[in-house]
Symmetry: C2
């Protein structure tokens, strides 16, 4: 005979379906004694509830909000595309996702947006935002309202979010550093570090990880201070030009976060791309192209598809009170070379 159902439990325990359902869902109105009878029947038969049947019956809907920055970066665009692709498929699972965009680098807007989210309209929230006390408070409010909250890409470690979907930035920086050092085996020289903004905690952590590894293992390489282009292509070009001018012994370039497009274009202008080992983060059309041309040596990234699918899975599990499969939800720090480009 097949898997036991509520009917089996009902007859085994000598009660009605409704009563079984009540103890199954922890609803009141059942004597302790009856509860025990049902519970023991459940144990005895090894019952495990059919979630899809349950969802069908209760017309369960999973409505998730994804709060994402709308910046100039292409990375968030990729994230959104992956999200759309994922939700197309998961519409079949009664999952609907709404993306709430907030201007990048505007903590107030993030908070305001988070505060518009209520438990009447949503069943879970995924947030990609920089950490501020106000954001933490907003997360707390959401949790208090009973909503599962996951952080995406960039964690809010001191908030009471349920889960973080993303990678350890320090480890990502260390990975970049290790590759840089290895690829520059035996060389002495300087490493230029650029980014568009060093405000985000992730950037700081990557830089920290990068520096740690270089200090530990590659003493012959000197890491220059981080230079910020502030999303300004002109400024990036100027930085590249003057840095290469001032430091003729630059052997490596590390692009810490966003700003890859401007960096790559600037380096092409110098005509000296091949003189450096260049490592960047995040796979975008620009970085992919540069990797294929042997301009970049490596890209450190995370799979945006996996990222959004994981966020959705975790939100669903949390809003069902289920636990997540750690191994499936662990996001990898991916090392992409020309030869293993997906």
């Amino acid at each position: 005979m097949g898997k036991p159902t509520v009917h089996d439990i009902a007859s085994e325990a000598g009660v009605s379906l409704a009563t079984v359902d009540r103890v199954l869902n922890g609803r009141p109105g059942v004597r302790q004694k009856t509860q025990d009878r049902v519970q023991s029947a459940i144990m005895r038969l090894g019952y495990v509830r059919d979630l899809s049947a349950a969802n069908l019956a209760r017309q369960r809907q999973y409505r998730f909000a994804f709060v994402l920055p709308e910046g100039p970066g292409q990375f968030v665009g990729l994230l959104q595309a992956a999200l759309r692709e994922a939700t197309d498929v998961q519409r079949a699972d009664r999952i609907s996702v709404r993306v709430l965009q907030v201007p990048a680098h505007d903590p107030h807007q993030v908070v305001r947006t988070l505060n518009t989210i209520d438990a009447k309209h949503y069943d879970g929230v995924a947030i990609m935002a920089q950490e501020t006390p106000q954001v933490r408070d907003a997360v707390h409010r959401l949790k208090t309202a009973g909503l599962p909250v996951v952080t995406l890409i960039s964690d809010l470690p001191n908030s009471d979010r349920d889960h973080f979907v993303g990678v350890n930035s320090i480890a990502a920086g260390r990975t970049a550093g290790l590759l840089m050092g290895r690829f520059l085996r035996g060389l002495t020289g300087k490493i230029l570090v650029v980014t568009s903004s060093l405000l985000a905690r992730d950037s700081l952590e990557r830089r920290f990880g990068f520096d740690s590894v270089m200090a530990e293992k590659f003493g012959s390489l000197e890491i220059l201070p981080t230079l910020e282009a502030h999303d300004d292509a002109e400024r990036m070009a100027a930085i590249v030009r003057s840095s290469l001018d001032v430091h003729p012994d630059i052997v490596g370039i590390y692009s810490l976060a966003s700003g890859n497009k401007a960096l790559i274009e600037s380096l092409r202008l110098t005509g000296r791309f091949q003189d450096f080992v260049v490592i960047a983060h995040e796979l975008t059309s620009q970085t992919r192209d540069a990797l294929e041309r042997d301009e970049l040596a490596a890209i450190i990234t995370q799979d945006v598809g996996h990222l959004v699918r994981s966020a959705v899975r975790v939100l669903r599990a949390k809003s069902d009170g289920l636990s997540v499969i750690q191994s499936q939800e662990r996001i990898r720090i991916e090392v992409l070379l020309k030869e293993n480009l997906p």
Copy 2:
């Protein structure tokens, strides 16, 4: 109002549920004219069938067979563990998986096992085996019997399997080669290539990919012929000893496939691990340990968890006649360094 259901279609088309169901499932006994009416109602309302309700009603079961080699390699063990973990979860989705073990390197047994699989007891088959004409025939038989077939890790490209779950071995070899060349930047010398057996097509392809990259980009490195230890630790130790003896200018070691345990132990015995850049395939307890100790420079691998989940998802999709999400099912060639070890 919510998503349209079969009821909506029925009333829109002015027919009964049964008729709607017939055209939905392509069953006979409906006049062409009626079919058209129903079809147009379906289009008009934008109906999309609720798969979980359908599965509930038809008590759908997904019974999949995984045909795996039982060898001395730890890799298959990891695969099985991942499979167990995955099926624990997917039991909820009416999925059951049975593992059929066959002695490694025994094509006859594989065929015999495949021939025991019939469509009465299974709804799909995943196969990890070396390619022989007999295996291809067996796959053909399974397909003819109406069973979806996916190949796992090692493809059977000339069979009519539905899908291959794994990575391109040539690209994996190229990735290993690129890393080896980069890590040996500026050095001249020889590279030792070892494995336990060169029989498998994957091994040959990796070697091919490795050689291609080395020839294209790293002409100063000479790649020695592949040495096979045939799952014999003693033999591996002898290979390592004599090779290092004969070729004092060995700078890199590439472990093509299995046999990592013996290789690592042999190299430890020489006490000269640090003198070489060693790159291996597949993450196992041994290779992980060696990577953490800075003995291995890198591991090229694929995520076994992803592998088995993908196989199951694809089998399910195929046996429902659905298409797969390419992006989700693409298995990555992973580059693991000490700093991004999961």
